[in-house]
Amino acid sequence: MAELRASAARLLVVDDNKVNRLLLSRNVELQGYHAASAENGRVALEMLRREAFDLILLDIEMPEMDGFQVLEHMLADRQLRDVPVIVTSSLEGLENVVRCIELGAEDYLSKPINPVLLKARIGASIEKKRLRDQLRDMVRRFATSEVAQDLQQSGFALGGKRVHASVMFSDIRGFTALVESQPPEETIELLNTYYTLMFDAISSHGGVVNQMIGDGLMALFGAPLSLDDCAGSAVAAAREMIELVEQFNLGRVAARKAPIRIGIGIATGDVVAGYTGTQQRATYTCIGDTVNLAARLEAHTKSAQRAILIDAATRHGLGAGVQLIALGDVQFKGMAVAEQVYAVAQDSA
């Protein structure tokens, strides 16, 4: 497998000097990799934007565009930022090495290059890239693509920023009774189907599910990536969730199983969103009165006997197309002032 992987790796040798270019390409090919070459930085960038490479061997001193400039361009380009670069240069001076590393170079080898050292560094870089790609796939799977994208763009840092967003809470009514009435395997299967449907509805409207607890979930619209119409998107997602559950219930009733019902609460306002936890384990979440209100609204769906409840700020963000029923002021526990609550009318209701 290692041989297969090695032979599949494609390297780009960038050097203005023909002797260096030929010798480096030769060394790389003798190690079982494919080598392509470019005679200056400008040509190299053109090739990098056209085809995929696993690793770049980059000279610094070159006409037209030097290695430092190539590194700067790559750092600014999200597509190219993760391609590992080993600088191969006969430029002397520690400050040049430091500058390359600061610009994202993986390693710095002085010319003339020792082939054994080159082999070890190429192997390590390619392996590191493979692990990084694997890690990125994992992050995608567990953290939603929006959080993964945010992590990739701005890096990981604990702490939050203030953003305008809509927060949604949703859970299954009478879930405890349901769990007790059926084997645990069936509950897991039910939850998996339910979550798949809810994730689809939420992400197709630009939302991000950031927490799942039992049968409940919390979703954000407008964070970590900003959304033009967060209130409208959240309400549209909520209506789609209700519709999907109704369709899901048709199948359950046909299989002589009890239909499920869900309640959804949505509140809009400023929240502090960011990564909380420790350096080892953290989660993307948001905090603020808006979050509390959304949770209270979701809980209130039970006594109000409505599927979707929203606050006044969410209502302000909605267009004329959504039918609302004003339920008046409700004084929630732990809230300083009474909140105006609106129910979203269902088309089918």
Binding site: K18, V19, L23, R26, N27, L30, E61, S90, L91, P112
Partner: protein, 118 residues
């Protein structure tokens, strides 16, 4: 500084790792490219083009070291680091340095050709 034109340990190691046939081709490439670097050095010195001068010296240094031409490499390195001093450009020193470099290159070229065909 050593008087040896080509450090044979470096050259043999190069042949061993890259293959004799390939090194023969690589020497041919160097012999075709190096005169252009020497010309570039003279042109740059005449035109007062410090960037071009430094780059040509840098290239020549790099290739000399690759083949084990340590003396030529050291001379090129000196030019790279001293750079082109406009005040010194007209004086005979710069021109002498380039003449010495060209002479050393002739020795290197002859020796490399001999090693590849020997």
């Amino acid at each position: 500084m050593t008087d040896v034109v080509i450090d044979l340990t470096v050259f043999k190691e190069l042949q061993d790792t890259a293959g004799e046939d390939f090194i023969k081709e690589l020497v041919d490439t160097f012999l075709a490219e190096a005169p252009q670097m020497l010309n570039a050095l003279r042109d740059a010195a005449a035109a007062g083009d410090a960037d071009k001068f430094r780059r040509a010296a840098h290239s020549l240094k790099s290739n000399s070291h690759t083949f084990g031409a340590m003396t030529l490499g050291a001379m090129a390195r000196e030019l790279e680091h001293e750079g082109l001093d406009p005040a010194r450009q007209a004086d005979a020193g710069a021109s002498n340095a380039l003449d010495a470099l060209t002479q050393e290159y002739s020795r290197v070229a002859a020796r490399l050709a001999g090693l590849c065909n020997g």
